[in-house]
Subunit: 211 residues, 2 copies
């Protein structure tokens, strides 16, 4: 039912198409050309055409892609018709920012639980979420049937947290801790190191300066 083997860079661009398409749908437009979609998503037209070969929707000559069909296909492809609840483990600044991040709702994602091991944080309410103790996480997960978790704890605690998440049935982990996690092959881990963002800026700025 879900397409297999979409390259990661393509996968990362699909939500940008989805966002641009939703604006078009809201504006009452029925078709969109690849050049216009590219312009609004900030992606080159040739890349748009290439990316959309992974989507089972065909553009029509002189009209473009049907907006509604393309939105439905992208949602299915991105798994946005399925599991959309997630928890955050680690109520530090980053964990709190992520648990409150308004952009998640645009895709129907919801952070439903926030956990921390610090007794000073447990019980406090941050942006509508009460911080729960990590000790209670396994029980929580066994009741809620959640498949996705975000880890923002320090590196030394991350594997222990991951082990508990796996026991609780989590199948996808977004890992912000700067450490590689050991998980079984059926669990997907997305490692995020925010310093890479600045490193890529630094790389491009340096190249520019040396030209």
């Amino acid at each position: 039912m879900y397409a297999r083997g979409i390259p990661r860079p393509t996968l990362e661009r699909l939500p940008r198409y989805l966002r641009a398409l939703r604006r078009h749908e809201d504006a009452g437009e029925v078709f969109i050309s690849s050049s216009r979609l590219g312009a609004e998503a900030g992606i080159e037209e040739f890349q748009v055409r290439k990316d959309l070969t992974h989507v089972e929707v065909t553009g029509r000559p002189s009209k473009g892609y049907p907006v509604g069909d393309l939105i439905a296909a992208l949602r299915k492809l991105l798994g946005l018709t399925g599991q959309r609840d997630a928890i955050v483990v680690g109520a530090g600044r980053l964990g709190v920012a992520l648990s409150q991040y308004p952009g998640f709702a645009n895709y129907g994602f919801k952070i439903v639980g926030l956990f921390d091991s610090d007794p000073g944080k447990v019980g406090s309410v941050i942006g509508g979420l009460r911080v729960m103790p990590v000790d209670s996480m396994l029980e929580y997960l066994s009741h809620e049937g959640i498949a996705m978790a975000i880890i923002t704890v320090p590196a030394e605690d991350a594997q222990g947290v991951a082990d508990q998440l796996l026991e609780g049935g989590i199948k996808g982990i977004w890992n912000f801790a700067p450490v590689a996690l050991d998980v079984p092959p059926d669990v997907y881990v997305r490692n995020e190191d925010l310093a890479i963002g600045l490193a890529s800026l630094s790389y491009h700025v340096s190249r520019h300066r040396d030209r």
Copy 2:
């Protein structure tokens, strides 16, 4: 002086090698094999070998890569020998989390200024940084010679902020606002949509469930 045209996925893995190599250097080790480097960085060995073809350091048979040379080459490649100060515009939860993010220091990056347009935030001190008014940003940049900026303002304010950043000499923008920015070709923009992280988890979790 800087290598050209490194694929973005490779570029994103280089800091992970750098982190693993620093641990080895700290432990007093002089050589590292590609299999060990891969294991510690959480990357397949074939990928390590492929990625390191972009680095002008050659491994030695039965010994591996010289750790010190590899660190120096990666630092140069990532621009970590150059510009490392950046500012954050937008003192919301995400902007504050980024301005405090401890992982930046691992690469020598430093957030030196935090700006916001909200008079209720301006002047307050958050984690050692005093929030400065966006109105003063241009003057600040003209004195400091900073090349990198992070935008975490709402979508409708992002282009206005970007225009001021460009006027202030910024050459690299890390854009967390959900909107495509219009900038000249010599300016590098890295668009970040955190929802993509959850979308990729959702995609993989859905695939797994349907198998």
